[in-house]
Protein backbone atom coordinates (compact mmCIF):
# COMPACT_ATOMS: atom_id res chain seq x y z
CA UNK A 1 0.00 0.00 0.00
CA UNK A 2 2.76 2.46 0.85
CA UNK A 3 1.53 6.01 0.29
CA UNK A 4 -2.05 4.78 -0.04
CA UNK A 5 -2.07 3.79 3.58
CA UNK A 6 -4.44 6.40 4.91
CA UNK A 7 -2.86 7.15 8.23
CA UNK A 8 -3.72 10.12 10.39
CA UNK A 9 -0.74 12.01 8.99
CA UNK A 10 -2.65 12.84 5.81
CA UNK A 11 -5.38 14.64 7.74
CA UNK A 12 -4.08 17.89 9.06
CA UNK A 13 -5.41 19.72 12.10
CA UNK A 14 -5.12 23.46 11.41
CA UNK A 15 -3.41 25.46 14.14
CA UNK A 16 -5.86 28.32 13.89
CA UNK A 17 -9.12 29.24 15.47
CA UNK A 18 -11.58 26.55 14.42
CA UNK A 19 -15.09 27.57 13.31
CA UNK A 20 -16.60 24.13 12.98
CA UNK A 21 -15.25 20.65 13.47
CA UNK A 22 -16.59 17.20 12.71
CA UNK A 23 -15.63 14.23 14.83
CA UNK A 24 -15.92 10.78 13.30
CA UNK A 25 -18.93 11.51 11.14
CA UNK A 26 -20.69 8.56 9.51
CA UNK A 27 -23.54 9.18 7.09
CA UNK A 28 -25.98 6.50 5.97
CA UNK A 29 -28.61 6.56 3.27
CA UNK A 30 -30.74 3.72 4.58
CA UNK A 31 -28.20 0.95 5.08
CA UNK A 32 -25.87 2.45 2.51
CA UNK A 33 -22.86 4.12 4.07
CA UNK A 34 -22.00 7.29 2.18
CA UNK A 35 -19.44 8.80 4.53
CA UNK A 36 -17.33 7.03 7.05
CA UNK A 37 -15.27 8.35 9.85
CA UNK A 38 -14.85 11.90 8.58
CA UNK A 39 -13.05 14.16 11.04
CA UNK A 40 -12.25 17.61 9.77
CA UNK A 41 -11.64 20.97 11.43
CA UNK A 42 -12.37 24.12 9.43
CA UNK A 43 -10.52 27.30 10.41
CA UNK A 44 -12.36 30.56 10.93
CA UNK A 45 -12.33 33.23 8.20
CA UNK A 46 -10.80 30.86 5.67
CA UNK A 47 -12.10 29.22 2.55
CA UNK A 48 -11.96 25.44 2.73
CA UNK A 49 -12.62 23.45 -0.41
CA UNK A 50 -14.02 19.93 -0.51
CA UNK A 51 -12.94 18.16 -3.69
CA UNK A 52 -13.44 14.67 -5.02
CA UNK A 53 -15.11 12.72 -7.78
CA UNK A 54 -18.87 12.44 -8.18
CA UNK A 55 -20.25 10.19 -5.47
CA UNK A 56 -17.25 10.69 -3.22
CA UNK A 57 -19.54 12.04 -0.49
CA UNK A 58 -18.35 15.64 -0.41
CA UNK A 59 -21.82 17.12 -0.91
CA UNK A 60 -23.33 14.71 1.58
CA UNK A 61 -20.70 15.77 4.08
CA UNK A 62 -21.38 19.46 3.45
CA UNK A 63 -25.12 19.03 3.84
CA UNK A 64 -24.56 17.28 7.17
CA UNK A 65 -22.87 20.37 8.58
CA UNK A 66 -26.08 22.41 8.78
CA UNK A 67 -28.35 19.42 9.25
CA UNK A 68 -29.81 19.62 5.73
CA UNK A 69 -29.60 15.83 5.69
CA UNK A 70 -32.25 15.58 8.41
CA UNK A 71 -34.95 13.27 7.17
CA UNK A 72 -32.85 12.23 4.16
CA UNK A 73 -29.85 10.51 5.69
CA UNK A 74 -28.71 9.40 9.12
CA UNK A 75 -25.71 11.30 10.42
CA UNK A 76 -23.73 9.78 13.31
CA UNK A 77 -20.88 11.39 15.16
CA UNK A 78 -20.29 14.86 16.52
CA UNK A 79 -20.28 18.23 14.80
CA UNK A 80 -18.79 20.77 17.15
CA UNK A 81 -19.75 24.40 16.67
CA UNK A 82 -19.09 26.93 19.44
CA UNK A 83 -18.42 23.99 21.76
CA UNK A 84 -21.86 22.52 21.14
CA UNK A 85 -22.54 19.28 19.33
CA UNK A 86 -25.01 20.51 16.74
CA UNK A 87 -25.63 17.00 15.52
CA UNK A 88 -27.68 16.32 18.63
CA UNK A 89 -31.45 15.91 18.54
CA UNK A 90 -31.71 18.46 21.34
CA UNK A 91 -30.30 21.24 19.20
CA UNK A 92 -32.70 23.70 17.52
CA UNK A 93 -31.96 22.89 13.91
CA UNK A 94 -33.49 26.16 12.65
CA UNK A 95 -31.08 28.16 14.79
CA UNK A 96 -28.21 26.02 13.47
CA UNK A 97 -29.15 26.88 9.91
CA UNK A 98 -29.42 30.54 10.77
CA UNK A 99 -25.79 30.44 11.93
CA UNK A 100 -24.64 28.13 9.15
CA UNK A 101 -26.06 29.28 5.82
CA UNK A 102 -26.08 27.35 2.60
CA UNK A 103 -25.99 28.10 -1.12
CA UNK A 104 -26.88 25.38 -3.58
CA UNK A 105 -25.58 24.18 -6.90
CA UNK A 106 -28.47 25.57 -8.92
CA UNK A 107 -29.54 29.11 -8.12
CA UNK A 108 -32.86 28.85 -6.28
CA UNK A 109 -34.25 32.31 -5.64
CA UNK A 110 -37.82 32.38 -4.40
CA UNK A 111 -40.49 33.35 -6.90
CA UNK A 112 -40.74 36.74 -5.26
CA UNK A 113 -39.22 40.17 -5.70
CA UNK A 114 -35.48 40.63 -5.23
CA UNK A 115 -36.10 42.58 -2.03
CA UNK A 116 -38.52 39.96 -0.71
CA UNK A 117 -36.02 37.20 -1.34
CA UNK A 118 -33.83 38.78 1.29
CA UNK A 119 -36.42 40.17 3.71
CA UNK A 120 -38.52 37.00 3.79
CA UNK A 121 -36.19 35.00 6.03
CA UNK A 122 -35.39 38.08 8.11
CA UNK A 123 -39.07 38.63 8.81
CA UNK A 124 -39.53 34.95 9.62
CA UNK A 125 -36.75 35.33 12.17
CA UNK A 126 -38.51 38.27 13.77
CA UNK A 127 -36.81 41.27 12.17
CA UNK A 128 -39.53 43.68 11.13
CA UNK A 129 -38.30 47.29 11.25
CA UNK A 130 -38.46 48.86 7.80
CA UNK A 131 -35.13 50.66 8.27
CA UNK A 132 -33.38 47.56 9.52
CA UNK A 133 -34.76 45.48 6.65
CA UNK A 134 -33.68 48.03 4.04
CA UNK A 135 -30.26 48.26 5.63
CA UNK A 136 -29.81 44.51 5.56
CA UNK A 137 -31.00 44.30 1.94
CA UNK A 138 -28.44 46.87 0.85
CA UNK A 139 -25.62 45.45 2.99
CA UNK A 140 -26.08 41.91 1.86
CA UNK A 141 -26.52 42.80 -1.80
CA UNK A 142 -23.38 44.92 -1.62
CA UNK A 143 -21.49 42.10 0.04
CA UNK A 144 -22.61 39.76 -2.72
CA UNK A 145 -21.52 42.33 -5.34
CA UNK A 146 -25.02 42.55 -6.73
CA UNK A 147 -26.18 45.92 -5.41
CA UNK A 148 -25.09 48.03 -8.35
CA UNK A 149 -26.85 45.75 -10.79
CA UNK A 150 -30.20 45.56 -9.00
CA UNK A 151 -30.51 48.66 -6.81
CA UNK A 152 -33.05 50.18 -9.20
CA UNK A 153 -35.09 47.02 -9.63
CA UNK A 154 -35.43 45.68 -6.11
CA UNK A 155 -39.14 45.12 -6.59
CA UNK A 156 -38.77 43.15 -9.78
CA UNK A 157 -39.16 39.40 -9.71
CA UNK A 158 -35.98 37.55 -8.77
CA UNK A 159 -36.79 35.12 -11.56
CA UNK A 160 -35.84 37.83 -14.07
CA UNK A 161 -32.19 37.69 -12.96
CA UNK A 162 -29.51 35.86 -14.92
CA UNK A 163 -28.08 32.64 -13.46
CA UNK A 164 -25.01 34.37 -12.05
CA UNK A 165 -27.04 37.22 -10.59
CA UNK A 166 -29.53 34.77 -9.10
CA UNK A 167 -26.70 32.83 -7.47
CA UNK A 168 -25.28 36.03 -5.97
CA UNK A 169 -28.78 36.85 -4.75
CA UNK A 170 -28.83 33.46 -3.02
CA UNK A 171 -25.50 34.31 -1.38
CA UNK A 172 -26.91 37.69 -0.33
CA UNK A 173 -30.02 35.99 1.03
CA UNK A 174 -27.84 33.74 3.20
CA UNK A 175 -25.56 36.44 4.53
CA UNK A 176 -28.46 38.78 5.29
CA UNK A 177 -29.08 36.49 8.28
CA UNK A 178 -25.52 37.28 9.44
CA UNK A 179 -24.39 33.69 9.71
CA UNK A 180 -20.96 32.58 10.93
CA UNK A 181 -20.36 29.99 8.31
CA UNK A 182 -21.36 29.79 4.68
CA UNK A 183 -21.63 26.40 3.01
CA UNK A 184 -21.57 26.39 -0.77
CA UNK A 185 -22.39 23.31 -2.78
CA UNK A 186 -20.77 23.74 -6.19
CA UNK A 187 -22.13 27.27 -6.41
CA UNK A 188 -20.59 28.02 -9.79
CA UNK A 189 -21.00 24.74 -11.62
CA UNK A 190 -24.13 25.90 -13.44
CA UNK A 191 -22.64 29.26 -14.39
CA UNK A 192 -20.56 30.68 -17.23
CA UNK A 193 -16.90 31.65 -16.67
CA UNK A 194 -17.62 35.37 -16.22
CA UNK A 195 -20.26 34.72 -13.57
CA UNK A 196 -17.99 32.15 -11.96
CA UNK A 197 -15.19 34.64 -11.63
CA UNK A 198 -17.58 37.19 -10.11
CA UNK A 199 -18.69 34.63 -7.55
CA UNK A 200 -15.08 33.81 -6.71
CA UNK A 201 -14.24 37.48 -6.23
CA UNK A 202 -17.27 37.78 -4.00
CA UNK A 203 -16.21 34.79 -1.91
CA UNK A 204 -12.68 36.14 -1.45
CA UNK A 205 -14.22 39.33 -0.15
CA UNK A 206 -16.66 37.45 2.08
CA UNK A 207 -14.02 35.38 3.86
CA UNK A 208 -12.98 38.48 5.77
CA UNK A 209 -16.19 38.12 7.73
CA UNK A 210 -17.34 34.56 7.18
CA UNK A 211 -15.96 31.07 7.33
CA UNK A 212 -16.56 29.49 3.94
CA UNK A 213 -16.70 25.82 3.06
CA UNK A 214 -17.16 25.12 -0.61
CA UNK A 215 -17.71 21.91 -2.54
CA UNK A 216 -16.30 22.08 -6.02
CA UNK A 217 -15.71 19.86 -8.99
CA UNK A 218 -13.35 22.35 -10.43
CA UNK A 219 -9.75 21.79 -9.33
CA UNK A 220 -8.59 25.17 -10.62
CA UNK A 221 -11.29 26.81 -8.59
CA UNK A 222 -10.23 24.96 -5.45
CA UNK A 223 -6.57 25.84 -5.97
CA UNK A 224 -7.04 29.53 -6.73
CA UNK A 225 -9.78 30.17 -4.20
CA UNK A 226 -9.26 28.09 -1.09
CA UNK A 227 -6.89 28.15 1.84
CA UNK A 228 -7.52 24.57 2.86
CA UNK A 229 -8.54 21.59 0.78
CA UNK A 230 -10.03 18.23 1.74
CA UNK A 231 -9.98 15.42 -0.79
CA UNK A 232 -12.85 12.94 -0.55
CA UNK A 233 -12.74 9.51 -2.12
CA UNK A 234 -15.44 6.87 -1.85
CA UNK A 235 -16.92 8.27 1.32
CA UNK A 236 -13.64 8.84 3.12
CA UNK A 237 -11.53 11.90 3.69
CA UNK A 238 -8.25 10.90 2.09
CA UNK A 239 -6.28 14.03 2.65
CA UNK A 240 -6.76 17.42 4.22
CA UNK A 241 -4.35 20.29 4.53
CA UNK A 242 -3.34 23.68 3.22
CA UNK A 243 -4.32 24.02 -0.40
CA UNK A 244 -0.75 24.78 -1.48
CA UNK A 245 0.50 21.56 0.01
CA UNK A 246 -2.34 19.44 -1.31
CA UNK A 247 -1.82 20.66 -4.86
CA UNK A 248 1.97 20.76 -4.93
CA UNK A 249 2.95 17.80 -2.77
CA UNK A 250 0.01 15.53 -2.01
CA UNK A 251 0.89 12.76 0.41
CA UNK A 252 -1.52 10.10 -0.77
CA UNK A 253 -1.11 8.51 -4.18
CA UNK A 254 -4.76 8.75 -4.95
CA UNK A 255 -4.90 12.49 -4.22
CA UNK A 256 -2.08 13.00 -6.66
CA UNK A 257 -3.88 10.97 -9.28
CA UNK A 258 -7.08 12.95 -8.80
CA UNK A 259 -5.56 16.41 -8.89
CA UNK A 260 -3.49 15.57 -11.94
CA UNK A 261 -6.70 14.58 -13.67
CA UNK A 262 -6.15 10.85 -13.93
CA UNK A 263 -9.65 10.00 -12.75
CA UNK A 264 -12.85 11.61 -11.56
Amino acid sequence: MGKNNLGAETIMIPREEIAIETKKIDVYYGSNKAISNASLAFPRFKISALIGASGSGKSTFLRSLNRMNDGIATVKGEIMYRSTNINSVKVNVYQVRKHIGMVFQRPNPFARSIRNNITFALKEHGIHGEDELNKRVEESLRAAALWDEVKDSLDKSALSLSGGQAQRLCIARSIALKPDILLLDEPASALDPVSTSKIETTLRELKKKYTIIIVTHNMQQASRLSDYTAFFHMGKVVEYGQTNNIFTSPRANITEKYISGNFG
Binding site: F104, F120, K156
Partner: protein
Protein backbone atom coordinates in the same frame (compact mmCIF):
# COMPACT_ATOMS: atom_id res chain seq x y z
CA UNK B 1 -41.33 8.82 -46.85
CA UNK B 2 -38.56 11.20 -45.89
CA UNK B 3 -38.33 12.97 -42.58
CA UNK B 4 -39.75 16.22 -43.93
CA UNK B 5 -42.92 14.72 -45.39
CA UNK B 6 -43.57 12.46 -42.43
CA UNK B 7 -43.20 15.45 -40.15
CA UNK B 8 -45.70 17.39 -42.28
CA UNK B 9 -48.18 14.51 -42.23
CA UNK B 10 -47.87 14.07 -38.46
CA UNK B 11 -48.34 17.80 -37.91
CA UNK B 12 -51.39 17.83 -40.16
CA UNK B 13 -52.94 14.89 -38.29
CA UNK B 14 -52.33 16.52 -34.92
CA UNK B 15 -53.75 19.83 -36.12
CA UNK B 16 -56.88 18.15 -37.46
CA UNK B 17 -57.50 16.36 -34.15
CA UNK B 18 -57.16 19.62 -32.28
CA UNK B 19 -59.45 21.16 -34.89
CA UNK B 20 -62.11 18.53 -34.23
CA UNK B 21 -61.98 19.19 -30.47
CA UNK B 22 -62.20 22.95 -30.94
CA UNK B 23 -65.02 22.65 -33.48
CA UNK B 24 -67.01 20.35 -31.22
CA UNK B 25 -66.58 22.73 -28.32
CA UNK B 26 -67.60 25.77 -30.34
CA UNK B 27 -70.55 23.93 -31.82
CA UNK B 28 -71.76 22.81 -28.41
CA UNK B 29 -71.33 26.15 -26.65
CA UNK B 30 -72.56 28.02 -29.74
CA UNK B 31 -75.68 25.87 -29.99
CA UNK B 32 -76.53 26.37 -26.33
CA UNK B 33 -75.89 30.11 -26.43
CA UNK B 34 -77.72 30.73 -29.71
CA UNK B 35 -80.76 28.84 -28.50
CA UNK B 36 -80.69 30.17 -24.98
CA UNK B 37 -79.63 33.79 -25.09
CA UNK B 38 -82.80 35.09 -26.81
CA UNK B 39 -84.77 33.88 -23.83
CA UNK B 40 -82.54 35.51 -21.21
CA UNK B 41 -83.94 38.74 -19.86
CA UNK B 42 -83.87 40.64 -16.62
CA UNK B 43 -87.33 39.27 -15.93
CA UNK B 44 -86.10 35.70 -16.56
CA UNK B 45 -83.24 36.10 -14.12
CA UNK B 46 -85.20 37.83 -11.36
CA UNK B 47 -88.56 36.11 -11.19
CA UNK B 48 -89.40 32.82 -9.50
CA UNK B 49 -90.13 29.73 -11.53
CA UNK B 50 -93.69 28.72 -12.40
CA UNK B 51 -95.05 25.21 -12.05
CA UNK B 52 -97.87 25.41 -14.57
CA UNK B 53 -97.94 28.84 -16.19
CA UNK B 54 -95.65 30.27 -18.81
CA UNK B 55 -93.27 33.14 -18.09
CA UNK B 56 -91.45 31.63 -15.11
CA UNK B 57 -87.92 32.65 -14.28
CA UNK B 58 -84.93 31.03 -12.61
CA UNK B 59 -84.17 33.46 -9.80
CA UNK B 60 -84.21 30.89 -7.01
CA UNK B 61 -82.49 28.14 -8.99
CA UNK B 62 -79.65 30.46 -9.97
CA UNK B 63 -79.20 31.63 -6.40
CA UNK B 64 -79.41 28.06 -5.09
CA UNK B 65 -76.72 26.91 -7.51
CA UNK B 66 -74.36 29.66 -6.46
CA UNK B 67 -75.09 29.26 -2.76
CA UNK B 68 -74.64 25.51 -2.97
CA UNK B 69 -71.38 25.95 -4.82
CA UNK B 70 -70.03 28.39 -2.25
CA UNK B 71 -71.03 26.09 0.59
CA UNK B 72 -69.43 23.14 -1.20
CA UNK B 73 -66.18 25.03 -1.70
CA UNK B 74 -66.17 26.19 1.92
CA UNK B 75 -66.38 22.56 3.02
CA UNK B 76 -64.22 20.88 0.41
CA UNK B 77 -61.33 23.30 -0.21
CA UNK B 78 -59.91 23.24 3.35
CA UNK B 79 -60.20 19.45 3.54
CA UNK B 80 -58.63 18.99 0.11
CA UNK B 81 -55.91 21.50 0.95
CA UNK B 82 -55.07 19.67 4.15
CA UNK B 83 -55.00 16.24 2.59
CA UNK B 84 -53.21 17.50 -0.53
CA UNK B 85 -50.48 19.09 1.58
CA UNK B 86 -50.21 15.94 3.66
CA UNK B 87 -49.92 13.66 0.63
CA UNK B 88 -47.44 15.91 -1.15
CA UNK B 89 -45.21 16.90 1.74
CA UNK B 90 -45.61 14.72 4.76
CA UNK B 91 -46.92 11.28 3.79
CA UNK B 92 -44.25 8.60 4.16
CA UNK B 93 -43.81 6.33 1.18
CA UNK B 94 -45.51 3.24 2.60
CA UNK B 95 -48.48 0.92 2.28
CA UNK B 96 -50.89 3.20 4.10
CA UNK B 97 -50.11 6.14 1.82
CA UNK B 98 -50.61 3.92 -1.20
CA UNK B 99 -53.92 2.78 0.26
CA UNK B 100 -55.03 6.38 0.76
CA UNK B 101 -54.08 7.25 -2.81
CA UNK B 102 -55.94 4.23 -4.20
CA UNK B 103 -59.00 5.13 -2.12
CA UNK B 104 -58.92 8.65 -3.54
CA UNK B 105 -58.71 7.29 -7.06
CA UNK B 106 -61.64 4.95 -6.49
CA UNK B 107 -63.64 7.78 -4.96
CA UNK B 108 -62.94 9.98 -7.96
CA UNK B 109 -64.37 7.41 -10.36
CA UNK B 110 -67.62 6.94 -8.43
CA UNK B 111 -70.62 7.86 -10.60
CA UNK B 112 -72.24 11.00 -9.26
CA UNK B 113 -75.64 9.34 -9.06
CA UNK B 114 -74.16 6.81 -6.63
CA UNK B 115 -72.74 9.65 -4.56
CA UNK B 116 -76.20 11.20 -4.61
CA UNK B 117 -77.92 8.03 -3.46
CA UNK B 118 -75.35 7.57 -0.73
CA UNK B 119 -75.97 11.12 0.44
CA UNK B 120 -79.69 10.48 0.33
CA UNK B 121 -79.52 7.32 2.43
CA UNK B 122 -77.01 8.59 4.96
CA UNK B 123 -77.80 12.27 5.40
CA UNK B 124 -81.36 12.72 4.19
CA UNK B 125 -82.79 9.55 5.76
CA UNK B 126 -80.43 8.28 8.45
CA UNK B 127 -79.30 11.62 9.92
CA UNK B 128 -82.65 13.22 9.16
CA UNK B 129 -81.22 16.31 7.45
CA UNK B 130 -83.96 16.05 4.84
CA UNK B 131 -83.53 17.46 1.35
CA UNK B 132 -81.32 20.43 2.06
CA UNK B 133 -78.58 22.62 0.71
CA UNK B 134 -76.26 21.24 3.39
CA UNK B 135 -76.84 17.65 2.28
CA UNK B 136 -76.29 18.70 -1.32
CA UNK B 137 -73.07 20.46 -0.36
CA UNK B 138 -71.84 17.37 1.46
CA UNK B 139 -72.68 15.16 -1.53
CA UNK B 140 -70.85 17.55 -3.84
CA UNK B 141 -67.93 17.53 -1.42
CA UNK B 142 -67.66 13.75 -1.80
CA UNK B 143 -67.84 14.26 -5.51
CA UNK B 144 -65.30 17.08 -5.52
CA UNK B 145 -62.82 16.02 -2.89
CA UNK B 146 -60.83 13.35 -4.79
CA UNK B 147 -60.12 15.50 -7.83
CA UNK B 148 -59.41 18.55 -5.73
CA UNK B 149 -57.05 16.64 -3.43
CA UNK B 150 -55.19 15.13 -6.36
CA UNK B 151 -54.95 18.47 -8.05
CA UNK B 152 -53.59 20.22 -4.96
CA UNK B 153 -51.14 17.38 -4.33
CA UNK B 154 -49.86 17.60 -7.89
CA UNK B 155 -49.63 21.38 -7.87
CA UNK B 156 -47.55 21.21 -4.69
CA UNK B 157 -45.38 18.43 -6.09
CA UNK B 158 -44.72 20.58 -9.16
CA UNK B 159 -42.94 23.18 -7.04
CA UNK B 160 -39.22 22.37 -7.35
CA UNK B 161 -37.53 20.87 -4.28
CA UNK B 162 -34.89 23.56 -4.62
CA UNK B 163 -37.44 26.05 -3.29
CA UNK B 164 -38.03 23.95 -0.18
CA UNK B 165 -34.28 23.53 0.37
CA UNK B 166 -33.84 27.27 0.05
CA UNK B 167 -36.40 27.84 2.78
CA UNK B 168 -34.94 25.19 5.07
CA UNK B 169 -31.39 26.41 4.56
CA UNK B 170 -32.45 29.83 5.83
CA UNK B 171 -33.52 28.31 9.12
CA UNK B 172 -37.21 28.47 8.26
CA UNK B 173 -39.32 25.55 9.43
CA UNK B 174 -40.83 23.10 7.03
CA UNK B 175 -44.33 24.33 7.76
CA UNK B 176 -43.49 28.02 7.25
CA UNK B 177 -41.61 27.14 4.06
CA UNK B 178 -44.70 25.28 2.95
CA UNK B 179 -47.08 28.15 3.73
CA UNK B 180 -44.93 31.05 2.56
CA UNK B 181 -42.92 29.61 -0.32
CA UNK B 182 -44.42 26.42 -1.71
CA UNK B 183 -48.12 27.23 -1.51
CA UNK B 184 -47.86 30.62 -3.25
CA UNK B 185 -45.89 28.98 -6.06
CA UNK B 186 -48.52 26.25 -6.32
CA UNK B 187 -51.40 28.73 -6.16
CA UNK B 188 -52.08 29.12 -9.91
CA UNK B 189 -52.34 25.33 -10.29
CA UNK B 190 -54.50 24.99 -7.19
CA UNK B 191 -56.81 27.77 -8.39
CA UNK B 192 -57.19 26.13 -11.78
CA UNK B 193 -58.19 22.92 -10.02
CA UNK B 194 -60.70 24.72 -7.82
CA UNK B 195 -62.21 26.45 -10.86
CA UNK B 196 -62.53 23.18 -12.75
CA UNK B 197 -64.12 21.42 -9.80
CA UNK B 198 -66.42 24.41 -9.22
CA UNK B 199 -67.55 24.20 -12.84
CA UNK B 200 -68.27 20.51 -12.44
CA UNK B 201 -70.14 21.10 -9.19
CA UNK B 202 -72.12 23.98 -10.68
CA UNK B 203 -73.31 21.82 -13.54
CA UNK B 204 -73.92 18.70 -11.45
CA UNK B 205 -77.48 17.39 -11.33
CA UNK B 206 -77.48 13.66 -10.60
CA UNK B 207 -75.85 13.92 -7.18
CA UNK B 208 -78.25 16.68 -6.15
CA UNK B 209 -81.62 15.25 -7.17
CA UNK B 210 -81.66 13.07 -4.06
CA UNK B 211 -79.80 15.39 -1.74
CA UNK B 212 -80.69 19.04 -2.16
CA UNK B 213 -84.03 18.08 -3.65
CA UNK B 214 -86.11 19.21 -6.58
CA UNK B 215 -88.18 21.95 -5.08
CA UNK B 216 -87.46 25.63 -4.89
CA UNK B 217 -89.55 26.99 -2.02
CA UNK B 218 -90.23 30.69 -2.05
CA UNK B 219 -87.62 32.31 0.15
CA UNK B 220 -87.22 35.78 1.48
CA UNK B 221 -84.06 37.48 0.17
CA UNK B 222 -84.11 40.11 2.88
CA UNK B 223 -84.15 37.63 5.75
CA UNK B 224 -80.53 37.13 6.77
CA UNK B 225 -81.27 34.89 9.74
CA UNK B 226 -79.81 31.60 8.57
CA UNK B 227 -81.91 29.69 11.11
CA UNK B 228 -85.17 31.04 9.80
CA UNK B 229 -87.06 28.65 7.57
CA UNK B 230 -87.86 31.38 5.07
CA UNK B 231 -84.36 32.82 4.89
CA UNK B 232 -82.57 32.45 1.58
CA UNK B 233 -79.42 31.60 3.53
CA UNK B 234 -80.93 28.74 5.54
CA UNK B 235 -78.77 25.73 4.65
CA UNK B 236 -81.40 23.28 5.87
CA UNK B 237 -84.01 24.17 3.27
CA UNK B 238 -84.49 22.18 0.07
CA UNK B 239 -83.04 23.85 -2.98
CA UNK B 240 -83.45 23.01 -6.62
CA UNK B 241 -80.37 24.08 -8.55
CA UNK B 242 -80.17 25.30 -12.11
CA UNK B 243 -78.88 21.97 -13.43
CA UNK B 244 -81.58 20.03 -11.59
CA UNK B 245 -84.13 22.52 -12.93
CA UNK B 246 -82.99 21.86 -16.49
CA UNK B 247 -83.23 18.12 -15.90
CA UNK B 248 -86.69 18.48 -14.39
CA UNK B 249 -88.00 20.74 -17.15
CA UNK B 250 -86.95 18.22 -19.72
CA UNK B 251 -88.41 15.20 -17.94
CA UNK B 252 -91.59 16.39 -16.27
CA UNK B 253 -91.90 20.06 -17.13
CA UNK B 254 -95.55 20.95 -17.72
CA UNK B 255 -95.28 24.67 -18.31
CA UNK B 256 -95.99 25.57 -21.95
CA UNK B 257 -92.60 27.26 -22.27
CA UNK B 258 -90.58 24.48 -20.59
CA UNK B 259 -88.36 24.11 -23.62
CA UNK B 260 -87.45 27.80 -23.82
CA UNK B 261 -86.83 28.00 -20.07
CA UNK B 262 -84.58 24.97 -20.34
CA UNK B 263 -82.64 26.58 -23.20
CA UNK B 264 -82.33 29.86 -21.34
CA UNK B 265 -81.23 28.09 -18.15
CA UNK B 266 -78.60 26.12 -20.04
CA UNK B 267 -77.21 29.30 -21.52
CA UNK B 268 -77.12 30.94 -18.08
CA UNK B 269 -75.37 27.86 -16.70
CA UNK B 270 -72.68 28.00 -19.37
CA UNK B 271 -72.25 31.77 -19.04
CA UNK B 272 -71.88 31.58 -15.26
CA UNK B 273 -69.27 28.84 -15.57
CA UNK B 274 -67.37 30.86 -18.17
CA UNK B 275 -67.53 33.97 -15.99
CA UNK B 276 -66.37 31.96 -13.02
CA UNK B 277 -63.43 30.64 -15.00
CA UNK B 278 -62.45 34.05 -16.24
CA UNK B 279 -62.88 35.73 -12.87
CA UNK B 280 -60.89 33.14 -10.96
CA UNK B 281 -58.07 33.30 -13.48
CA UNK B 282 -57.88 37.08 -13.26
CA UNK B 283 -57.94 36.97 -9.48
CA UNK B 284 -55.42 34.11 -9.39
CA UNK B 285 -53.01 35.97 -11.62
CA UNK B 286 -53.41 39.13 -9.60
CA UNK B 287 -52.65 37.31 -6.35
CA UNK B 288 -49.69 35.53 -7.94
CA UNK B 289 -48.32 38.79 -9.29
CA UNK B 290 -48.68 40.44 -5.94
CA UNK B 291 -46.74 37.67 -4.18
CA UNK B 292 -44.07 37.10 -6.79
CA UNK B 293 -43.77 40.58 -8.31
CA UNK B 294 -43.67 38.87 -11.65
CA UNK B 295 -45.79 37.30 -14.28
CA UNK B 296 -46.62 33.62 -14.28
CA UNK B 297 -43.68 31.69 -15.62
Amino acid sequence: MNAKTSNKVATAVIYSFVGIVVLLLFFLIGYILVNGIPYISWHFLTSPSQSFLAGGGIRDQLFNSIYLLILTLIISVPIALGSGIYLAEYAPDNVITKLIKTAIEVLSSLPSVVVGLFGYLLFVIKFGFGFSILTGAIALTFFNLPLLTRNIEESINDVPDLQREAGLSLGISRWRTMVKIVLPSALPGILTGIILSAGRAFGEAAALIYTSGQSAPIVNYSNFNIFSQSSFLNPMRPAETLAVHIWKLNTEGVTPDAHSISNGSSAVLIIVILLFNLGARVIGNAIYRKITSGRRG
